[in-house]
C-alpha cells in the first residue's frame, strides 16, 4: 500500500482516524443482519467494486459492509433484507455455475469473473443477478463516498469549512 495522507488531511480529520484496521472492526462487532459467511462475502464484493489503490483505501477499509449490515438490520421492509440474502445466494450459484465453487472459495480472478458477469447489463439489468449487482453497487457507492475515507482521501473534498472568500472566478 503506497497511499499516503498529507498533512492537511491529518489536520482536518484527526491523525489516525482513517487508518482504523478493518480486521479489528470485524472481530469486535458481529454483524447484525448478515451471517458471518455472508458478511465476508459482502466485504469482498464491496472491495472488488471499490478497491484500495495507489490513491486511497477502498470499501473494506471504509467498513462499507458493516454500514450496509446495520442499515439492513433496521430496514422497514423485510423485502430489502430478503433481496440481499437471495442476492448473495445468487452470487454463489453463479460462481458454482462458472467455476464449480462458491464465491469465497473461488480465486481472486474467478471472483472478478463472477462480478463481471453480474455487471454485464448494468444500465438495463434483466436477470436477478444483474438486478442484485445494481443494488450492491448503489449501496457500496453510497456507503463508500459518505465515509471518512471516501470523502477525505478518495475525493479530497475541500468544503464544509469556514471560508472568508468564495472559491471560483469573480464575475466582472
Amino acid at each position: 500500500m503506497s497511499y499516503q495522507i498529507n498533512r492537511r488531511d491529518l489536520i482536518r480529520i484527526g491523525a489516525g482516524a482513517v487508518l482504523a484496521a478493518p480486521a479489528i472492526f470485524a472481530a469486535a462487532d458481529a454483524p447484525k443482519f448478515f451471517t458471518p459467511a455472508e458478511f465476508t462475502a459482502v466485504d469482498e464484493l464491496t472491495e472488488l467494486i471499490i478497491p484500495s489503490d495507489d490513491h486511497s483505501h477502498g470499501a473494506r477499509a471504509a467498513q462499507v459492509a458493516a454500514y450496509i449490515d446495520v442499515r439492513l438490520a433496521e430496514a422497514f421492509e423485510p423485502k430489502e433484507r430478503d433481496d440481499w440474502r437471495n442476492g448473495l445466494e445468487l452470487v454463489d450459484r453463479l460462481s458454482g455455475k462458472l467455476h464449480g465453487v462458491t464465491f469465497m472459495e473461488a480465486t481472486p480472478e474467478q471472483r472478478i469473473a463472477v462480478l463481471t458477469r453480474m455487471a454485464k447489463n448494468e444500465m438495463k439489468p434483466k436477470t436477478p443477478e444483474e438486478i442484485f449487482f445494481r443494488e450492491l453497487k448503489h449501496a457500496t457507492a453510497h456507503a463508500y463516498y459518505t465515509s471518512k475515507i471516501g470523502i477525505h482521501q478518495e475525493m479530497e473534498y475541500k468544503g464544509n469549512v469556514m471560508l472568508e472568500e468564495f472559491v471560483g472566478y469573480e464575475v466582472k
Partner: protein, 588 residues
C-alpha cells in the same frame, strides 16, 4: 421575548402564518408600533439542533437519512398514484418528495407528515412546512425581482390580467427587503430581471464561466446565483451572520444554522419580538376568520391547539392571512357565515381559482471535458451556483407559446460525487473514473411560467378531513397546452446552449414533473382593481372585507418565471405600510 397571549385583548392585527409573508407582516406592523399577534400552526423548533449544517455524513448513524419507519414520496409515486398519497402506507411517517434525498433527517421535523395532512383530487406534489418560519427554513434561496415584463404581461401578449401595480410601485419595497435581509448577486442591468441592492456575489466555477462567455455571444446571460443570503452581513440583526461558504446548502434538504440564508424567524420574527409589540403563539392552527355581523368586518380568528385539539378565539382589528398560497385559500373557504356563504372575501367566486406556478423538469446535464482529471477544487462552497434568466418572448414573440422560463444550474461536485451512481463498471478503473470526472459536470434545470387559469383551482373536499377534523383541499390542477409546448422548448434550448458553449451533452430531460413540484404555488386570491374578477386590491386588502388582507403568494396575478419569495415580501411590506396608515386614519 414574546409577550404572553391574551385572548381578552383586541390586537391591532392578527397574522396567520410565520413564513416569508407572515414574518414580514410581523416585522412591518410591529415597527409601526402596532400590537401584533402572530399565529403559527406548527411548533417552534430549536432549529440549530435540527439543521446541524456542518455534521459530516459519517458522524450520523444513517449518513443523514431519516429513521427506517419514515418514507418520502418519490417523484414517480406522484405520477402513478392519486392523493391522498399517504393513505394505506405501512410507514409510520410519510413525507413529500423533498425528503427523498440526502440529509432528510435534518428536515423531517420541519415538513409536515402527509398522514396528518391529506389532500385529494388531481395529482399534485404539495410540499408544506409547519413550524415557526415555514418553508423559509429550507428554501432554495434564489431571490429574484419581477419587472413590468411580468406585471404588465397581459398587455404585452393579451393573455390573462395585468397586475394592479407596476414595477415603480414595488421597486422601493424590493430595495427595503434587500437592505433589511441582505441579498447576494451581480448587477446585469437587465430590464426583464431588475438588479437588487446586492452584497458580495458568489463566484463561478470554470465550466460556468465558459457558459457565461458563450451565452454573452448569443445575447443571453449567465449570472451568479442571486441568493437571498447575506454575504456581507446585516449589522442591524444580531441573529444572523454573513455566509461562510460552508456549502451545506445543497447537500441537505436545505437550511442554514448560522442564518446567513434568510429565514423568517431570525430575519424577521425575532427582531419583531425585540420591539415588545409581538405576541407569538405556535401550535395554533387557524380554522376560521371570524366576522362581526354588524359591520361585516373580520373580528379575529378561531384556532385549534394542535396538541390538545382545543379551540380558542382571538380578536383583532385586522386579520392578515399568510398561511401559504393554498392554505390561505383553504382558510377563506372554511370561513363561511351567513354574511359570506361562499367563504370570507369570496363574493367574486375567485378564491381558490386562477392558480399558477412554475413548471419544472426539462433540463440538461453535460460534461466539460477540459476539467476531467484536473486536481480537486472546492466547487460547492457557496450558497448557489448560477442563474440563466429568461430570453423567450422579450423582444420577439415565439409562435409556439406565451411567456418565458429561466434556468437554475450548477457545476462541479459537492461532497458526494453523484457520478458514482451513473458511472458503469467496478474496480480500480471505476473508482478512478468517478474521481477524475466528478468535478467536470455541469447541469441546469428550467423554471417556466405556468399560465393562470380560472379552471385550475382548489376547493374544500366535502368529506375528507385532516387530523384535527378540518376539511382538506381538493385539487383540480393540470398543466395545459402552453406548458407542454414551453417544456419542449426548454429542453431544446437547454441542449442548444450547452452545445454552443462546447459542453458535451450527456442527457436531456424532457419530462414535466408533477404539478406543484416547484413549490412555487401562486394565485388563488389574486389582486386586481375589479372586485368581480379579483379577491384583493393592490394593497392585498379583500374587496369585500377591508380589514382582511392576504399577504402571501395567493395574491400574485401571474407567476412570471422568477422565484416568488422576494416579491411576496416586498408586496407584503407595501401592504402593511398601507394598512398601518389606514388604521391610523380610521379607514379600516
Amino acid at each position: 421575548m414574546s409577550n404572553e397571549l391574551d385572548l381578552n385583548k383586541t390586537y391591532d392585527a392578527i397574522v396567520v402564518g410565520s413564513g416569508a409573508g407572515g414574518g414580514m407582516a410581523a416585522h412591518v406592523l410591529t415597527s409601526h408600533g402596532m400590537q401584533v399577534l402572530l399565529l403559527e400552526a406548527g411548533k417552534k423548533l430549536d432549529i440549530n439542533k435540527e439543521l446541524k449544517s456542518m455534521e459530516w455524513p459519517y458522524d450520523h448513524p444513517r449518513r443523514g437519512d431519516m429513521p427506517p419507519d419514515s418514507h418520502a414520496l418519490s417523484g414517480r409515486e406522484y405520477t402513478i398514484r392519486k392523493p391522498p398519497y399517504a393513505q394505506g402506507s405501512p410507514y409510520k411517517h410519510v413525507y413529500s418528495y423533498v425528503e427523498d434525498g440526502t440529509g432528510s433527517d435534518y428536515a423531517k421535523d420541519i415538513v409536515v407528515d402527509e398522514k396528518d395532512h391529506p389532500y385529494t383530487g388531481t395529482q399534485y406534489a404539495w410540499v408544506r412546512a409547519r413550524c415557526l418560519g415555514g418553508k423559509t427554513n429550507i428554501w432554495g434561496r434564489l431571490a429574484l425581482r419581477l419587472s413590468d415584463y411580468d406585471f404588465k404581461a397581459a398587455s404585452r401578449d393579451g393573455y390573462g390580467e395585468d397586475w394592479p401595480i407596476s414595477y415603480a410601485d414595488i421597486s422601493p419595497y424590493y430595495d427595503k427587503v434587500d437592505l433589511y435581509l441582505g441579498i447576494s448577486g451581480h448587477k446585469e442591468n437587465l430590464p426583464y430581471l431588475p438588479d437588487s441592492l446586492f452584497q458580495r456575489a458568489v463566484r463561478l466555477n470554470p465550466a460556468e464561466v465558459k457558459l457565461r462567455e458563450s451565452m454573452a455571444k448569443m445575447g443571453r446571460v449567465v449570472t451568479p446565483y442571486r441568493a437571498g443570503v447575506t454575504t456581507d452581513g446585516v449589522k442591524h440583526n444580531k441573529y444572523r451572520v454573513h455566509c461562510y461558504g460552508r456549502g451545506a446548502c445543497d447537500r441537505r434538504v436545505g437550511g442554514c444554522d448560522i442564518h446567513a440564508a434568510f429565514d423568517s424567524p431570525t430575519g424577521l420574527i425575532y427582531p419583531a419580538m425585540d420591539t415588545g409589540n409581538l405576541t407569538l403563539r405556535t401550535n395554533a392552527t387557524v380554522n376560521e376568520v371570524t366576522v362581526d355581523k354588524d359591520s361585516g368586518k373580520a373580528s379575529g380568528v378561531s384556532f385549534i391547539d394542535t396538541d390538545t385539539g382545543q379551540t380558542y378565539a382571538a380578536k383583532g382589528r385586522a386579520v392578515l392571512l399568510a398561511a401559504s398560497t393554498l392554505e390561505s385559500a383553504r382558510l377563506m373557504l372554511l370561513s363561511k357565515s351567513s354574511l359570506y356563504p361562499n367563504g370570507i372575501g369570496n363574493s367574486s367566486g375567485h378564491v381558490g381559482h386562477n392558480f399558477c406556478e412554475h413548471l419544472m423538469g426539462p433540463g440538461v446535464a453535460g460534461l466539460d471535458k477540459e476539467l476531467v482529471g484536473k486536481p480537486r477544487t472546492l466547487d460547492d462552497g457557496r450558497p448557489g451556483s448560477f442563474y440563466l434568466p429568461r430570453f423567450r418572448n422579450l423582444t420577439d414573440r415565439s409562435s409556439k407559446f406565451l411567456r418565458g422560463y429561466g434556468f437554475e444550474g450548477g457545476s462541479g461536485t459537492g461532497m458526494f460525487p453523484e457520478n458514482a451512481y451513473s458511472t458503469p463498471g467496478f474496480g480500480a478503473a471505476y473508482k478512478k473514473t468517478v474521481r477524475d470526472y466528478a468535478g467536470a459536470f455541469i447541469g441546469m434545470g428550467g423554471f417556466g411560467e405556468v399560465l393562470p387559469r380560472y379552471e385550475n383551482y382548489v376547493e374544500l373536499d366535502p368529506e375528507v378531513k385532516d387530523r384535527w377534523g378540518v376539511p382538506v383541499l381538493r385539487f383540480h390542477i393540470k398543466f395545459g397546452d402552453n406548458e407542454k409546448k414551453m417544456a419542449a422548448d426548454m429542453a431544446d434550448s437547454a441542449r442548444e446552449m450547452f452545445e454552443a458553449a462546447g459542453i458535451e451533452v450527456l442527457s436531456v430531460s424532457r419530462e414535466i414533473l408533477t404539478e406543484g413540484y416547484s413549490i412555487h404555488e401562486l394565485g388563488t386570491s389574486r389582486m386586481g382593481n375589479d372586485p368581480k374578477k379579483s379577491v384583493v386590491n393592490q394593497f392585498q386588502q379583500s374587496h369585500d372585507v377591508p380589514n382582511l388582507l392576504v399577504v402571501d403568494g395567493s395574491t400574485h396575478v401571474s407567476a412570471s418565471c422568477q422565484n416568488p419569495t422576494w416579491t411576496i415580501m416586498a408586496l407584503c411590506w407595501r401592504s402593511c405600510d398601507h394598512l398601518a396608515e389606514e388604521l391610523k386614519k380610521g379607514n379600516v
